[in-house]
């Protein structure tokens, strides 16, 4: 179980400030949705938390260790990263991709590979090549490849954004469900999905955290409207709230 703490993260690139002294403290378990308008710094935050990009200043603590002091292999094992777009250059098979995921950092047992293949219903697809897979199958293969080492922390830059609603729900549900006994941090573009599935919402704008609260508490927050530059109508339904945006 590993907590993740971001301490005054700043990222500057070519005179643009992408993250501006952002601090965030996340416990060892929980499902966290990161929301915010385009250009808010969500993807940058995720890449910095995953150790893929180094911050200009500030540091990240993974458990009680500075992320920068971890070996590449240890980091690859502790932090699973799901990119928004994944397009492998070589047309690998499903089995080869999951195996590559399993061999990063310390090698994991074959049972773990078999388990993840079963969990994501990929058993029949082992020999299929990436180019022949549908969007929904690709999302499942990507998740299996990242999750095969069962990383304590998962960082996902909503990989389901381009999927149809059924597959999108499947993927978001799987990502949020990991928060029960692991830490799952997901950039979510659909606010209703964020508020329906996640325990905690982190609202990001201009490279900093505007609000960070349990999902029900943030729903009525006027900062939500301010950050997205719209007026939200909060509509009550049988099992929760719907947000309808008005200009």
């Amino acid at each position: 179980m590993t907590a993740l703490i971001a301490d005054k993260l700043t990222v500057k690139r070519d005179n643009a400030t992408l993250l501006d002294g952002l601090s965030l403290s996340l416990g060892p378990t929980g499902s966290v949705a990161v929301i915010g308008p385009n250009g808010a710094g969500k993807s940058t935050l995720l890449k910095v938390l995953a150790g893929i990009e180094a911050p200009t200043s500030g540091r990240i603590l993974l458990g009680d260790r500075d992320l920068a002091s971890l070996s590449h292999a240890a980091r690859a094992h502790a932090l699973g990263f799901v990119p928004q777009h994944f397009d492998p250059h070589w047309d690998l098979s499903v089995g080869e991709l999951v195996q590559l995921g399993a061999e990063r950092g310390e090698r994991v047992a074959q049972e773990a590979v078999d388990k993840i293949i079963a969990a994501f219903e990929l058993a029949g697809l082992g020999h299929r090549r990436w180019s022949t897979l549908s969007g929904g199958e690709r999302a499942r293969v990507l998740l299996a490849t990242v999750l095969v080492v069962d990383p304590p922390v998962l960082l996902a830059d909503e990989p389901a954004a381009s999927l149809d609603i059924r597959h999108r729900l499947d993927v978001i549900r799987a990502l949020a469900a990991r928060g029960r006994d692991r830490l799952s941090i997901v950039v979510v573009h659909d606010l209703d999905l964020a508020f329906s599935f996640f325990d905690r919402i982190v609202l990001v704008d201009r490279g900093t955290v505007v609000a960070d609260a349990p999902a029900p508490a943030l729903l009525d927050d006027p900062r939500l409207d301010a950050v997205f530059g719209v007026r939200f109508e909060r509509l009550q339904t049988n099992d929760g709230w719907l947000l309808r945006a008005r200009l």
Binding site: I52, H72, F86, P88, H89, W90, D91, S93, E96
Partner: protein
């Protein structure tokens, strides 16, 4: 397994046919008798000249196959080829110096050494330039490589103009640039084989990380790969392989580009099987091309690079067409 057996068998067949081919064709029986120690002049010529040349051609092809696979893997570009980062220009410059500048070292030694130094030196310069200019990624290296190739080409042209006169023919430079396997002595052939085996080992060490790099730089980094450092190491290793190929065989066109593609059709894109398969394909192609070069227009010998280019050019066009269609 069947693919590997077929590749090995094809290479064996290619070597036997190539050992028979030449100004004077030998029968497979002659070749076998010569290997068994037949003391006749024809048999001795086969053992001392033709067979070492055939095996050297196979090794040059294997090295080009390995180098091409590494470069296509590093740059994740199906059109990447081993001469991309200035190594061809560097090797040609080194060879021009060896062939045209009178130095007190035997040319048979100087030529491979300077070709190797030129090929590897040019690549190191390219990496240095891209580091200094802060463009350490693949695109930065490719651009630096294009610039380096232009500079080295101009230098070579200048040297050729400045150093040639009635006594020094430019034809030897031209024929070297067009590629051709030298006939090695058996000890030199042994050295070549050892170097080739070392190159196979060196590139196999890169195989897993080449696969991971193919997932894209973001994913590769999240999988724990230090992308910029690995790209540099892989380019350095790949250019050693290419420099060795150039030192033994001159500039042989298209083999390094085509072999990895053919091998990928046979064994798939994972680099651990792809590297040896690509080496085998390269070996087969160059062995056959060298046999054609030696035997098509007797008594003259066609430069090997011309043979591979005539066959490889259409292949390259086919590849481009396939790529443009997808």
């Amino acid at each position: 397994m069947r693919v590997w057996a077929s590749l090995a068998l094809a290479l064996l067949l290619a070597i036997i046919v190539a050992a028979c081919a030449g100004h004077d064709w030998a029968s497979p029986g002659d070749v076998l008798r010569a290997i068994a120690g037949d003391p006749s002049l024809g048999a001795r010529l086969l053992v001392e000249w033709r067979i070492p040349r055939v095996l050297a051609a196979a090794l040059v092809g294997a090295l080009l196959g390995l180098g091409g696979t590494v470069f296509q893997g590093v740059f994740r570009n199906p059109l990447a080829e081993p001469y991309l980062l200035g190594s061809a220009g560097g090797a040609a410059l080194g060879a021009t110096v060896a062939l045209l500048v009178p130095l007190a070292v035997p040319q048979s030694l100087l030529l491979p050494v300077l070709a190797f130094a030129g090929a590897w030196g040019a690549t190191i310069l390219v990496i240095g330039i891209s580091r200094v200019s802060g463009a350490v990624d693949a695109a930065g290296m490719l651009l630096a490589g294009v610039a380096m190739a232009a500079i080295l080409g101009a230098l070579r042209s200048f040297l050729m103009l400045a150093l040639s006169d009635e006594t020094v023919s430019l034809q030897i430079v031209l024929s070297w640039v067009l590629g051709g396997v030298q006939t090695p002595s058996w000890p030199v052939l042994g050295l070549m084989a050892a170097i080739s085996a070392a190159c196979l080992g060196l590139t196999l060490v890169l195989a897993r990380n080449l696969d991971i790099l193919g997932l894209g730089e973001t994913m590769a980094t999240s999988f724990g790969l230090n992308v910029n450092r690995f790209v540099m190491l892989a380019v350095l290793a790949g250019s050693v392989v290419v420099a060795a190929a150039v030192a033994f065989g001159g500039l042989v066109a298209f083999v390094g580009l085509a072999s990895p593609h053919i091998a990928r059709w046979l064994v798939g894109p994972l680099h651990r099987p792809l590297l040896p398969a690509s080496a085998l394909v390269g070996a087969i192609v160059v062995t056959v091309a060298d046999a054609i070069a030696r035997s098509a227009l007797p008594p003259a010998e066609i430069p090997l690079g011309l043979v591979t280019a005539v066959a490889g050019g259409p292949f390259f066009i086919l590849l481009l067409a396939r790529r443009l269609r997808t």
